[in-house]
């Protein structure tokens, strides 16, 4: 379970002064559901997810993940979270297996459990052919599989995906979306950010539209269609965001 309560994050920029990247964002995401955070570049998606993964600390508000507070118990939160983004790269001089084992050990798995988990994941993701190959020698698809294995090794209850398919080819992106669905089917709580409408339509149970750091609306796809009188998600998005953009420019 993820519960964000009035999350805010401000940064100081030398040229622009105080920037409020996330502004009072609240939402809930239940186990076995995928929450899609939809927004344009710079809307505050990555900052929100980094706060949930405790990589950043909120300036205000908090979030509770699996019963742990992101501000008070960040290490316990991280032990229950698998975080994957295009920015989470791999260590080039470790082999795929060494990398997965490293993160398993950091998550406190004992050697016997770790060995069992590694065998299970490598089998499931069809990684045995390159388990001893160094990460800098892997193809993009192999790297993505290794990243997935890294997030799964400690079997977290919550999965956070920050634009995980950004810049990937169709087949590799498909591996990721299949994996996200599998996570939901296994009862994990999944939060997923993107600006690709089709991915949201295909994957998400609940959609939250974020713009300028604020969560403007949320609901299932059916609820949003009914509320805004549009069938196409892109049209819904434009309908919500355009008046605000026009106001900001005025």
């Amino acid at each position: 379970m993820i519960e964000a309560r009035g999350l805010s994050k401000s940064f100081h920029d030398k040229k622009r002064g105080e920037i409020r990247a996330v502004d009072g964002v609240s939402f809930r995401c239940a186990p076995g559901r995928i929450y899609g955070l939809l927004g344009a570049n710079g809307a505050g998606k990555t900052t929100t997810l980094r706060i949930l993964a405790t990589i950043l600390e909120p300036s205000d508000g908090t979030a509770v993940i699996c019963g742990y507070d992101v501000v008070e118990q960040p290490e316990k939160v991280r032990a229950n979270v698998g975080f994957l983004s295009t920015a989470t790269a791999l260590y080039p001089r470790l082999t795929a297996q060494e990398l997965v084992e490293y993160f398993g050990r950091l998550n406190g798995l004992d050697e016997a459990t770790l060995k069992k988990r590694v065998e299970e994941i490598f089998g499931r993701l069809d990684m045995n052919g390159f388990r001893d190959r160094r990460c800098d020698k892997l193809s993009t698809g192999m790297k993505q599989k290794t990243s997935i294995a890294r997030t799964l090794v400690h079997d977290p209850a919550v999965m956070i995906f920050d634009e995980p398919t950004l810049g990937l080819d169709i087949m590799t992106a498909r591996t990721i979306t299949t994996f996200i669905r599998e996570c939901r089917d296994r009862g994990k709580t999944v939060i997923f950010s993107t600006h690709i409408m089709s991915e949201v339509e295909k994957l998400c149970d609940v959609i939250g539209i974020i713009h300028d750091g604020k969560l403007l609306t949320e609901g299932t796809l059916a609820e949003l269609r009914e509320k805004y009188g549009e069938q196409d998600l892109e049209e819904i998005f434009v309908k919500i965001v355009t008046p605000l953009q026009a106001g900001a420019e005025a």
Binding site: R78, E98, N107, G108
Partner: protein, 402 residues
């Protein structure tokens, strides 16, 4: 969450470190081969060059002396000198190394000698040119011998014994043991090299483990794991420290081997006096230098990591750390200056204090109060630097600088 998180991070960093070819160069190859190449190579080269220069018979020119045939004839008879015929462009010839020196006999020199007048003989040479200085030495020796002979002849003419010139003798004798002499001569160089190589060893891993992680995008990966930032910093820091110490240990070891090889080379080539000038790095000295290098390596590791963390890339980190090299080299070089000796005030200046104490250790001098003060003060500086490294790793503005 892992119990031994620091150890897990350290082992992983170590694995990556030993697989990096650049590490092999900066930590192993440079300290291992730098000293033998510099010391044995350069000394052997110097011996060969000086030997060749000494073998050469310097070609010199006599200016004037037409009315002083005796001194001109004397010069011509010196076997270790070759007299070139007079040319008006003798200055150019010296500059162009066609002749090594020129000696100017003033007009009426011989006549003046007989009348007791004091005349000046001038020697022209090329300053800083080794072969020219050998030519000057030989001319000077001839002229001094000639002058002594004139004095003796004058004393004999007046029936005065030559002993009046030397009412007593002066004799200098060194009583310091050879290792102290050699320590005072080249000991400072050891401290300087240990300081410099300690920093070189720490620099590359410090960049790789901070700015390198940011550049590759692995910083976010590791920060999303349950390890605490303090354990993460500690694991990384220990690896950087290991690299610095490995470099220092290898450099001290390599120095020991180089000195020993050079000593044998000099002994076998009959240059025993040069061998006496060489250091004997005993186990006590090696252990002491290593102990003094330890807190300094901690200081370097923590400072380099902290600075490199501000950078977004390897290249940027290098541009930040290059000025650091000057900051380290200046106090290390200061320790080499003549007359700079360890005082309680200097014992508090980081780097300079370690260089100076290494110099003392090399002479076999162990001032335990100074050693304790230096060790203690460097430990304090190192702790402050480590604390700063921890604090910097907590700063989002540094970790996610865009």
């Amino acid at each position: 969450m892992a119990r031994n998180a620091v150890g897990i991070v350290y082992r992983k960093e170590f694995t990556e470190w030993v697989r990096d070819r650049r590490t092999l160069i900066s930590t192993v190859l440079v300290p291992l081969f730098f000293f033998p190449i510099i010391m044995v190579g350069f000394t052997a080269l110097a011996v060969v060059m000086v030997g060749k220069a000494k073998e050469e018979t310097p070609k010199i020119m006599i200016l004037g002396g037409e009315d002083s045939p005796q001194v001109v004839e004397g010069l011509q008879k010196v076997k270790s000198l070759e007299i070139a015929p007079y040319r008006s462009n003798w200055k150019e010839q010296i500059s162009d190394k066609e002749i090594r020196a020129a000696v100017e006999i003033p007009p009426g020199f011989q006549d003046g000698l007989e009348k007791g007048e004091v005349k000046t003989v001038k020697i022209y040479y090329y300053e800083g040119e080794m072969k020219s200085s050998f030519g000057v030495d030989r001319i000077e020796k001839f002229l001094k011998d000639y002058r002594d002979q004139v004095v003796k002849d004058r004393l004999a003419a007046k029936n005065v014994p030559t002993s009046v010139l030397t009412p007593f003798e002066i004799h200098q004798e060194n009583v310091a043991p050879p290792e102290k002499v050699s320590g005072a001569t080249v000991g400072g160089f050891i401290g300087y090299m240990v300081v410099l190589l300690c920093m070189t060893g720490a620099m590359y891993p410090a960049i790789e483990l901070t700015a390198g992680e940011k550049e590759r995008g692995t910083m976010e990966t590791i920060l999303s794991s349950p390890i605490s930032r303090m354990n993460l910093v500690l694991g990384k820091f220990l690896l950087v420290l290991s690299a610095a110490l490995a470099t220092a240990a290898l450099s001290v070891m390599s120095m020991g081997i180089s000195f020993s090889a050079l000593r044998r080379f000099n002994m076998s080539s009959g240059r025993g006096d040069a061998a006496a000038l060489l250091l004997k790095l005993g186990p006590k000295a090696v252990a002491s230098i290593f102990m003094m290098a330890l807190p300094m390596a901690v200081l370097f590791s923590a400072v380099l990591m902290t600075i490199a963390l501000f950078a977004k890339s390897h290249k940027e980190a290098q541009s930040y750390l290059t000025p650091m090299t000057f900051l380290v080299v200046i106090p290390a070089v200061a320790s080499l200056l003549p007359g700079v000796e360890l005082t309680p005030k200097l014992a508090l200046i980081p780097i300079l204090n370690t260089s100076l104490v290494c110099k003392e250790i090399m002479t076999g001098t162990y001032h335990w109060n100074s050693i304790a003060l230096i060790f203690g003060s460097t430990c304090v500086y190192a702790s402050v630097a480590l604390f700063l490294a921890f604090k910097t790793f907590q700063r989002e503005s540094v970790l996610f600088r865009s």
